[in-house]
Symmetry: C2
Subunit: 338 residues, 2 copies
């Protein structure tokens, strides 16, 4: 029986003593080194079990210079971030995937005031890599950061031009175009869009997809208003659109949250979807499913996208070659509102 010496959790040294081997051997066993005698492995395992030994993370990191932890950098505007099911689900994918590995996730709120602080923390060797879920165009410093540690972006970073920023995204242009085409196919003649912010690639790309679809159909592309991906933003944009042209009969909304806001306005004016106006949106989340009516929408594999981000990052940390750009598939969920 090992006595219970005081002084905190059991150390590797204690395990070594109990197992009757050296610390090095214990370390090897713990790290799964192949070259250890079966008998020793056995003894060490038993000692570990008996003592309830768990390696000290800090010591390990210090000695190995590998932190086994990655940072998840999220925009300072945490409120809107977590309120958006898209981000929430991506985070979910990240967290779930990581739970199966030996990596730890550090949540890092990017203080926009001094992105410098965040960057320094990351560069100081406190993490093995970083995942950046960027809201705004202000991602230059992270693209920069990518030169010193592995970074993977969720969604194409705005400042990605020419840089070799790794990112995982969907094809927003194609998806938005597809969605808009469906409005055209339904015979909608005056098709508007509530686009996302002009400083986010998802905002720009989805607007671009809408534009292309209309151009292909020989329709005007003047009816565009930007929102901020929030219900309130959608409401305001909808009002502006109706003011500009009350005869709108088709609408592509770049996010379901904005769509729900838009729906409120439409309802207020007595318009019925899809009778008076066809509506297609983005994200098959709660908002699209539970609105009345439930909306035809572009579904993104959000959880999987998060998983993939982690996957790419870990591969890079391990030094393996991986694609710089990973494009995940989308699909339209038909609910008859187009």
């Amino acid at each position: 029986m090992a006595p219970e010496p005081p002084g905190g959790p059991p150390t590797l040294e204690r395990v070594a003593a109990v197992a009757g081997v050296s610390r090095s051997t214990v370390s090897r066993v713990v790290n799964g080194s192949p070259k250890v005698a079966p008998a020793a492995v056995e003894a060490v395992h038993r000692a570990i079990e008996d003592l309830g030994y768990v390696p000290n993370r800090a010591a390990r990191i210090l000695a190995s210079r590998r932190t086994q932890s990655i940072a998840l950098v999220i925009p300072e505007n945490t409120a809107r971030f977590f309120a958006d099911p898209f981000f929430a689900t991506v985070v979910q994918g990240i967290a779930m995937y990581l739970a199966d590995t030996d990596y730890t996730l550090s949540l890092l709120i990017a203080a926009e005031k001094d992105a410098e602080k965040t960057r320094r923390y990351l560069q100081a060797g406190n993490v093995d890599g970083a995942l950046v879920l960027s809201h705004h165009s202000d991602d230059r410093s992270y693209v920069q950061l990518a030169k010193s540690i592995p970074v993977v972006f969720g969604g194409r970073p705005m400042s990605a031009e020419g840089s070799d920023a790794y990112y995982v995204d969907v094809d927003n242009v194609a998806a938005a175009s597809d969605a808009t085409h469906r409005l055209v196919a339904r015979g909608r003649r005056r098709i508007a869009t509530i686009a996302g912010p002009a400083d986010m690639s998802a905002g720009l790309d989805r607007a671009e997809g809408w534009r292309r679809a209309l151009e292909e159909a020989g329709m005007p592309t003047d009816l565009i208003e930007h929102g901020d991906f929030s219900p309130a933003g959608g409401e305001a944009a909808m009002r502006r659109l109706l003011e500009r042209d009350p005869a709108i009969d088709g609408l592509f909304v770049a996010s379901s949250l904005m769509a729900s806001g838009a729906l409120n306005v439409l309802r207020g004016t007595g318009r019925i979807v899809p009778r008076d106006l066809g509506l297609v949106t983005f994200d098959n989340d709660y908002a699209a499913q539970s609105s009345s009516p439930p909306l035809t929408t572009v579904e993104q594999p959000t959880v999987e996208l998060g998983r993939r981000m982690v996957d790419v990052l870990l591969q890079r940390i391990a030094g393996h070659a991986v694609p710089i750009i990973t494009v995940m598939p989308t699909r339209v969920i038909e609910r008859g509102t187009e």
Copy 2:
């Protein structure tokens, strides 16, 4: 000019050299020790600035035996967790508050299979404390954990009986009772409830509040069905309730997500809220605000609740005395659906 010696980020040692002082002095300055000569402080700061020095976290932790990091333990069922605005917002509060401190947040997914693994990690001294956002009644092991490191629960843990588990919560019984009273006051005569899971204190307590309100009004408390706080669960529960008594004219739903599901069912049967049925729910989130109609609901200060959890935890880590139980206020947001 300090040359640029290779070999990774600048160390404290290098700062000391540049500043012309000893490592101890640098350490003192970095940690804000009061007993340092102004001149030395000045020199060290300049050197730190020049070198872009950032302390190595692992080394610091190892030497000080303080990790400056806390764990956020969330249930394995990450999907539902992040999909619920309540949890998302609490996490937001936690993350935001922590961003202002020197603490780091580690997301820890509690593998229900072996809670042992999670517990060991926490007990191995890898964090200074833990926040537990519990979904299920399976929180015994964390209440247990609280004996070795500071733990603060979000919401009263089910196994809190007799234990001195620290937690931050709202008064669910009172809030639910208040909400239900409003249905009674509106003249509703057949009042049902869609309660939360019976293995969560929020589920139990809100049902209890509903029960009390009805008892005080001399009304029967037979119409109760449980859901799992998800829209789908709300739908199913609503169906069961209508089957049991189609004459229901009042309903208290323990969460807005379930309410949205219930609304779908009601709509399907042609019932109009609040004309045919009064509805009051819990959580003033997106679901309650953007449903049609927007719902009268109990608002919880979710962000603040998260902040408070952190606050209590950090106080405890610092060794200060803090209340075991913190009850945050709620208020009813009137939207006329009662």
